[in-house]
Structure formats: C-alpha cells, structure tokens
C-alpha cells in the first residue's frame, strides 16, 4: 500500500526468515565481531584478486542464509543484489552460483536497503515463496576502482571513510513469522554540490535527511516510535550534518535512538578516519548486529536508512558533483 509521497506499508506480512553476514579480518577485530557469521583471516580469501574475494563473500553469505532457512538454493525464487564494482560483477557471479532468477541493482552503498525494499514490494503483491536479497563490498576492490591502488601513499583526510570488506544477505518470505519488514521509503537523488570523493559523508547527508524527513511525514509518526534509527554509512562527519539538517527542518533525532552503521562497525582503536562505508556496511550491521539484538528482545522496531553516493570515477574527473540517495526500510519484531 502506498503511503504519502514516497513510502509503502507492506500489509501482506513480509518476514525475514533468515539472514547472514560475512566480513574480513579488520571488521572481525571491531566491536560487532560476535554478530558476524563468518570472519575471514585475510582479504584475499584464497582468491587471485580482490574482486574474486568479494564475489566469494557474497556467495558465502547467500548460501549461509539459505542453509539457515533450512531450504535448498533451488528453492530460491528470486535473488536481488548489488555491489560497488563496475557492472556489479560480484552480484552477477554470485547469482551465477545461486542459479535462481536474478535482478541486479546499483545504488552504491544504499544497495542493502534498495534490494530489501524491492524484494518486499515484489513479494507484497505476488505469491512468491522466497526472495533472497544482499550486497557486498571489499575495501581493496573499492579503493582500486574509486580512488588509488591500495599500496599508493596518498594521505587520507579526516573526512575519508573506510570501505567495509563484507557481505550481508537476507531471505524474505510470507509463509513464516520472523522480524517483519513493515514499511519502506524510496529516496530521491539529492545533490548539494559536494564533489570530493574523500568526503562522502557530506555528499550523502542531505539525501539521508530528505528520506528520513519524508518517512516521518508519510508515515505520520515521530522518531521516538523506533528503538533505533540508523543511517547506512554517513560516518562521524555525515551523521552530524544529517542530524543538524533534520533539526533545521524541525525534526529532533534523539541521541540514544539515532546512530550510523559506519560509526558502529569499527572501534575507536581502528584508524578509519570518519568511519566505515560501502554496501556491506549497512548490510552486515543490520543483518548481523541489529537483527541479533531484535532476536534477543533488546530492541523491537528499527528504521535503517542506507545512504549511497552515486558518482563514478569518470564523473568526478569531469568535474561533476556527487549525487546522493538514501533508502529507508523499517523492520519490527
């Protein structure tokens, strides 16, 4: 059911049957390490390239989610996935392994929630038993594509972020009870003229603020309805900006409710400048950490607003700014 300008409520009862997360060694040393299903020892994962390693993580996360649900990969009716690499090759090759009908999406680091809301929308009005969604990212493959070779000695400024090496997937169904995907708000592109790829927090914050504000307008609720409202990967810098932007619009975000996956995933002792980023950031924190907390009854209503920077290495060189987008999905126990 459509709600307001950009939101949907899923009346038909779309539930998360299972979810799993795979991460690299750096994330495995972070504060949320207990919430991840598979932690790799090194970023190569026995593959010949970082790109292949990323594909392996997404495959592992997908197969683990299928295993946890007690079904076979042949039972998957639809797989929706995206990642950061050109032509979303990690998702394409993972889809090859899974073998089900496949929809590939690209919305940079907001992919986790874009794939989740698309799956919920498709499932809402159709009798499709199982839809698998997910995203992945890999620090080295992202650096190679968007910035510099990993051994290159460029000095990262304090606004830079660290792409999370990981993958997160979840399985949706109408047939069983579990954490329920209740609503979603599809974001619009918001471009406030920021063009520095080492300052993505500032580039994406306006889109996050726009989607969050629209969500509360559309749904007719206030922030304290939720136990947790988390942006995907705004990091320290973007999160603060987003908070202030919402304040200017008249929406106060309570300190103990409003957080950011990029801030949560790494500890203070890990040198990541402004925090984590990448498709996997919101995916592993949501599908690992937040879902676990919900299963332990610590929290029961969350709103995840994943944020994406929709530029390309070429657009930056052609002096274009970075357009941002943010997609929100609410999950309730």
């Amino acid at each position: 059911m459509v709600k307001g300008k950009q939101s949907f409520i899923f009346d038909a009862g779309v539930h998360i049957l299972s979810a799993s997360t795979v991460v690299g060694p750096f994330e495995g040393k972070g504060p949320l390490s207990d919430d991840f299903d598979i932690i790799h020892d090194d970023i190569w994962m026995n593959q010949g390239s970082f790109e292949k390693a990323e594909k392996i993580m997404l495959e592992e996360a997908a197969l683990k989610t299928i295993e946890k649900a007690g079904i076979k990969k042949e039972d998957i009716n639809l797989f929706i996935s995206g990642d950061l690499l050109s032509q979303i090759i990690s998702s394409n090759f993972a889809a090859r392994t899974i073998g089900s009908p496949y929809i590939g999406i690209y919305s940079a680091c907001s992919g986790s929630m874009e794939s989740l809301l698309l799956a919920a929308l498709i499932m809402e009005g159709n009798d499709i038993p199982y839809i698998l969604t997910g995203t992945s990212s890999h620090n080295a493959s992202a650096e190679k594509q968007f910035r510099y070779p990993t051994e290159y000695g460029s000095q990262k400024p304090p606004t830079a972020q660290w792409t999370v090496t990981g993958a997160g997937t979840c399985l949706l169904t109408k047939m069983f009870q579990g954490p329920k995907v209740v609503s979603a708000t599809i974001g619009k592109i918001v471009d406030m003229g920021i063009s520095d790829p080492f300052n993505m927090g500032s580039a994406m914050a306006p889109a996050a603020a726009d989607t969050i504000y629209t969500h509360f307008q559309d749904m007719g609720i206030t922030p304290d309805y939720y136990d947790i409202i988390a942006t995907g990967d705004l990091g320290n810098v973007g999160h603060k900006i987003c908070k202030d932007l919402l304040k200017d619009k008249g929406l106060e975000m309570p300190e103990h409710i409003f957080t950011d996956c990029g801030i949560l995933i790494y500890g203070d002792n890990q040198k990541v400048q402004a925090g984590g980023s990448g498709c996997a950031c919101s995916a592993v924190v949501t599908f690992g950490h937040f879902l676990n907390r919900m299963k332990r009854n610590e929290i029961s209503k969350i709103l995840i607003v994943a944020t994406g920077a929709l530029h390309s290495p070429l657009s930056y060189q052609q002096k274009e700014s970075i357009p941002g987008i943010a997609h929100g999905v609410s999950i309730e126990m």
């Binding site: 970023i43 190569w44 970082f50 620090n139 080295a140 070779p149 990993t150 051994e151 460029s154 000095q155 520095d196």
Partner: protein, 117 residues
C-alpha cells in the same frame, strides 16, 4: 656537514610547499607533483634551479621538482649542441636513469609482491 643540514631544510621546505598545495588548495597528489615538476622546469629555465642544487645538494635534487629541471637541462644542452631538434632528443637525457629505474623496478615488484590492502 652543512651540506646535510641544507639538504634537510630545503628538501623539507619543498615538501611543505607540496603539503600546503594538498591541504589548503585541495590539489590531488598527481596535480601537486605535476605543478612542482613544471615549477622545476620554469626555475631551470630562469637559471635559478642549478644554484639551488649547488647550495642544497640532495635537498634540491631529490624532490620531484628536480625532475622538471633535469628535463629542461637535457633539452637546453642538446639545443645548444644540435639546434632545435636537440629539444626533442635531449629531454630524457638526464632523467633516463630515474624513469628507467622506476619502470624496471616497478615491474619487478609486480612479479614479486602482492598488494596488502
């Protein structure tokens, strides 16, 4: 001994200029290095870089600006010797060792090392 001191000071100062370009003017490392190379060539053309080398030794030859000066010096030397065609034949005369080493050892590195991330 004071050759070392001046090498330290002048080399350090040229790096500070580079740091200011990156932090204050928000230039990328590639833009910064390119600017310094061109600056070295210009100073070489004005006969100002050689005195700096005499004074600061490695403090002037190690920074990338020296590369611009060497490119120019090579061109000028051949220009004097062979006329205008010397500009083309002389440019890489003095910088050959630097560029060749970087290519050769860079390639060898790709044979031996894997990126660590």
């Amino acid at each position: 001994m004071d050759k070392f001191i001046w090498a330290f000071i002048i080399g350090g100062l040229i790096c500070v200029i580079g740091q200011i370009m990156m932090d204050v003017f928000a230039l990328t490392p590639a833009h910064t290095m390119s600017t310094l190379v061109v600056a070295g060539a210009i100073l070489g053309g004005l006969s100002l870089y050689e005195p700096l080398i005499k004074f600061a030794g490695a403090g002037a030859t190690v920074p990338i600006s020296s590369f611009g000066n060497s490119l120019l010096k090579g061109a000028f030397t051949e220009l004097e010797k062979d006329g205008p065609i010397g500009i083309l034949t002389g440019i890489f005369e003095l910088t050959s060792s630097g560029i060749s080493s970087a290519i050769i050892f860079g390639f060898m590195a790709s044979l031996i090392f894997k990126p660590k991330g």
